[in-house]
Structures are given as C-alpha cells and as structure tokens.
Amino acid sequence: MGRYILKRFLMMLMTIFIIATLTFFLMHAVPGSPLETERTTNETIQANLEKFYKLDQPLYIQYFDYMKSLATFDFGPSIKDPNRTVNELLERGFPISFELGIITIIIAVLSGVLLGILAALRHNKLLDYGAMAFAVIGISIPNFVMATLLIQQLAVTWDIFPPATWKSPMHMVLPVLALATGPMAIIARLTRSSMLEVLTQDYIKMARAKGIKPVRIVFRHALRNAMMPVVTIMGTLLAGILTGTFVIEKIFAIPGMGKYFVDSINNRDYPVIMGTTVFYSAFLIFMLFLVDIVYGILDPRIKLHKKEGDV
C-alpha cells in the first residue's frame, strides 16, 4: 500500500507540473497583460512596474522563476491587488468554496443513491417513473438556471431562504441545492440501473434463499456492488461541481475562490491565475486519488497493491 501511495504521489506531482507549465504558457499566449489599463500610464512607470514584476524578462526566465517559487508553495503577490499575496487569497477563499463543494457532494451522493435505490426497488412503478422524470429534469437544467429559479421562487416570492451570501446554514440551502441537483440526478440514474442489474445476480437470489431480510439484502449485499459505476463517475462529477462552484459563487455572492479565479483571468493577473489553477488541479487530483482508494475498499477483488505470494 505504501508503495502504491508513493507511486501515485509522484504521478500526481508530475501531473501538476504539466498543468502548471501548460497554464503558464497559455496564459502568456493570451493578448494583454496585468499592467494594461484604460488610463495611459507614464512609460517610465510602466517600464518600472514591468521590471518590478519581472515581466520584462524573457518568458523562459519567468517560467523558471515561477517554477522555483511554486516548489516552495509561494504563489507570489497579486498584481492587481498588491496588498495581498495569492496565498492569502487561497486561505480566505478556499475554506468557503470547500464547504460549498463538500456539502454539495454529500447531499448529491446521499440523495442520489437513495433515490436510485428506491427507483430500482419499485422498478416500473410510479415511484420509479417519478424519480426518473425528476432525474431527467435535474440533468437537463443547468445549475445557473436552477440557481436563478430557486432564488426567484424560494427567496424572492416565498421568502423562505436568504437569496445570497454565505453566513448561516439557511444561507447554504439555495446554492447547495442549485449545485447538487445535476450530480444528484446523474447519480440517481446510475444507481438505479446498476442496482437493477445487481438485483438479478445469483448471489442476491442466494441471499433471498437464505431468508435474509430485504433491508439487509439491499444495503449489505446489493448496494456495495451497485456503487462501483457511481464511484467511477465521481471523478467527473467532482470536476463538474468544482467548476460549478465558480458560477454558483458568483450568482449567490459567496466570497469563495471562484470569484478570484474568474476575475484573475479577466484581469490577466498572472500570479493569481497560476495560483488558483494549480491549487484547484492539485485538489481535484487528490480527490481522484481518494476515489481510487474507495474502489479498493468497495471491491476486494481490486487490488491497489501487489503483495508477495498473492494469487
């Protein structure tokens, strides 16, 4: 296991390195620079500023400098907001984005799986059709449309939940709902179909023949096997939720990382673009690694590591 984790860790570093390199050159390929403004600035000042931020250096020197500071986890200062470093932005924004993301994932997985199981157990009955119709709607409506609809109905018209910001659990309901509906619908559909397949397996029939209680058959015998496809798409869903947070944070005025990420690209704020991108990718890669570990826990046939003498 230790060796596997080490191997994975090295591969993760490699991936992050490639992402950082690509982002760096793509970012510089985009026209414009962080120092360009609508006002005309004095040329000397402009030159001095470029010198200060080392933007006058050839690109490869800038690249090596950046990689060096990246290795020490120093993302540098923001150019647009010189009072703050990128690290400070991440420290402030990430916990909020993480909270939003993690609550969304938990809600999406729990309700999606539950809905999928219920639909599978009531196969071709009203509940099944209802759940699947709901799922299709959930998949079809983009989260930003969902967000506006939710704000309009639940916040403006009925005044049940606050329409924006991130302060109390009540504030969390609408953004989480808007972000979780899509993934939940996908998980529900997937759980249903794989559950239906698993329920026809011989070992389920055997469990029935043993007189095992239906609840135990579903949750102990079937669910674990049915979860495999769900775990497989978790990686994609995580990426989806991650990018979804940018939009949702913007709509609900949540002071998370998404705002900095989007703004930095518009402003060509090079250090912030690099910092947020590298940080997000590192986070996503780590989550994918967790998904792989969960695989091994769910299905004992999948071995993450090879021991001597194993058959």
């Binding site: 011989d202 023949a209 007189g211 015998h221």
Partner: protein
Amino acid sequence: MTKPIADELTRTRLEDGAESDPVAHDAKRGKVAKPKRKRTVTDEKILEVKDLHVTFSTYGGTVQAVRGVTFDLYKGETLAIVGESGCGKSVTSNAIMGLIQQPPGKITSKGVHFKSKDLTKLSKKEMRKIQGVDISMIFQDPMTALNPTLTIGEQLTEGVKQHKNLSGAEAKKRAIEMLNLVGIPNPEERLKQYPHQFSGGMRQRIVIAIALICEPELLIADEPTTALDVTIQAQILDLFEEIQAKTGVSIILITHDLGVVAKIADRIAVMYAGKVVETGTKREIFYTANHPYTKGLLNSVPRLDLKEEELVPIDGTPPDLFSPPQGCPFAPRCPFAMEVCAHVYPEPTHLSATQKVDCWLQDERAKKLIEDGAFAH
C-alpha cells in the same frame, strides 16, 4: 420393444450385479462409496407437491413453465428431478423455495406442503423463517452464487445470526464446524477471505456449507455439479452422500446429468415440458422405464457395457411453452405416438407402489394394439 423382452433384459442386468451395471460402474471413482451410505429413508413425507403450476407473463405472452407437477418427498431420501433444459425443473425448485417473483410469475397449486405448512399460502415474512432454516438451496454456478464483496465468514454466519440469534462468536464457531464438514482446510483463516480467493470446487463447498449451516430438513440442489469439472463433481457428490448420512437431510436434486442421478438418487422424477411424465425408484427408471421420453433420455447417454451401440438422440425439439400442446407434449417426438396422444393428456398409470407413468401406451387398448403388432418397426 415389447414389454416381455424389456423385462427379460432387466432381469439379466440386475442379476449381473455391479460389474455390468452401467450406472454403478460409471459412478465408482477411486473410493468405494457404498458402505458409508447408512442413510435411513423413512415413510414420513416431508414435502408434498400437488398439481403445481407456474406461469410467467412476458411481453411475448404467458409462458407456462410448470404445468401441474405432483410429487412427494420422504424424510432422508434423495429425489432427482431430471429433464432437458427448459423443462421446468429449476422453476419447480424455485417455486418451492419461494424465489419466484410475483409478478411476473404466478403460482397456482393444490398445495405445496412442507411438513404441515402450505408454502404457497405463507407471507413473505413467514417464508423467510423457512428459507435457509428448514429448506435450503444450492445454486448451479458457484462462481456467481457468492457475493464478491463480502467475506466467506460473513456470508456463512449471517443466516444463523439472523435465524437462530447466535452471537458473533457462536456463529463463527458454527461456521468453522461447517467448513470442516465440507472439507475446507484452515477454516479459521479462510473465513476472512473473499470468494475470489477460492477455486470453483471450493466455492461450491462453501455454498453447500452456507446451505447447511442452519441444519435444514430439505436441501434443494439446482444442478449443483453442472459448472464443475468431472473430478470435482465426484467429490461434491460424495460430500452430499456423506452429509445426508450424517444429518438425515432430504435432498431434491435438479439435474440433467444421468450419471449424477445414478450416483446419489433414491427416486427419480422425469420432467418434460413442465410436467412430471414418469416417477419411480432409481432402479425402476433405469431398468424398467416405460415412458418413451425416459427411454429416449436413457438411450442418449453413453454406456460402457454396450460397446457397439450408437447413441440415439431424441429427434425434434421440446414444445413451445407459450402455447403448449393440449395432449401429450412429447407426442410430436414420440416414435409410438397415437392419434389420442395429440389431443388428450394421459392419466397417470401406477405400475408399482413407487413407479408411475403418464403415457397412453399403458392403456389397455394400446396394449392390445402392441400385441397385434401395430408398432412392429
């Protein structure tokens, strides 16, 4: 073949004993199995199936999978249900076991009595108290019958824990006993392992252990050796005999392998197109089979004692059970079919206390025709 000649043949074969007995000869492998078989078959009926019908509604219509099956099972005996694929033998066993999903399945009968209870009238909850406790089932394919994500230990013990309220430690002890009984070495360590860490034969032993852990009185084995290779088959059959001798369990053995039947069955029920066409003791079926289908089945098995004889397959295919024929379902394939066979299903004829056959050839009028030489070909 006329009756007197058949009797003659039988007598000579019986007298020859085991040497030329195609059945026993085939079954003997290495060890002599006979002496350890100290089973006692009693007169006590443990299971009475009366006129069992099972149908399934599908998009293509209604399949009449089982069309009036009647048989009894006595305590301590092994009844083999034989027949070709799709004749309803597995459906019969699933119906007894309460494993038919209704709908799409539908079960009607004049009673499936296990001891005093009518299994078809029990609620699902009441049935669960019988499943795995009084009646257990062994499945055909050990590669798929065990849950790949649960340890052997958990799959073994969950039944006793639920049904007999045993503690974890007691259940584990019981599981170790069972693994010892079915011949799995190092049971204590094996309990922690997963199905993929066992071979096919080992897995079937585990499936058997799971079926027996609550000490059932009836064991339904649905083609328990079909998925195994021949040497493992013999070992598993020996294990069945051993367990029956130790526990006195009654066994219903579903199979299409007459070699398996010859080895461990006491009585045989031959099924064709959802009906039991002939029942009898093993000897009666193997030596004095009367139904043309049973005869055909026996002729299609290779024999060691008759070298010259070619295998005779039964021509034709079984009827479509979406619209089964109104008369005898075997009539279209039967070399002795008469006009009446196509229209009316024959009443059972009792040939002895144990042998019963559904065939128009047993009718007095047909016998007269035979004597007149109507079938002299």
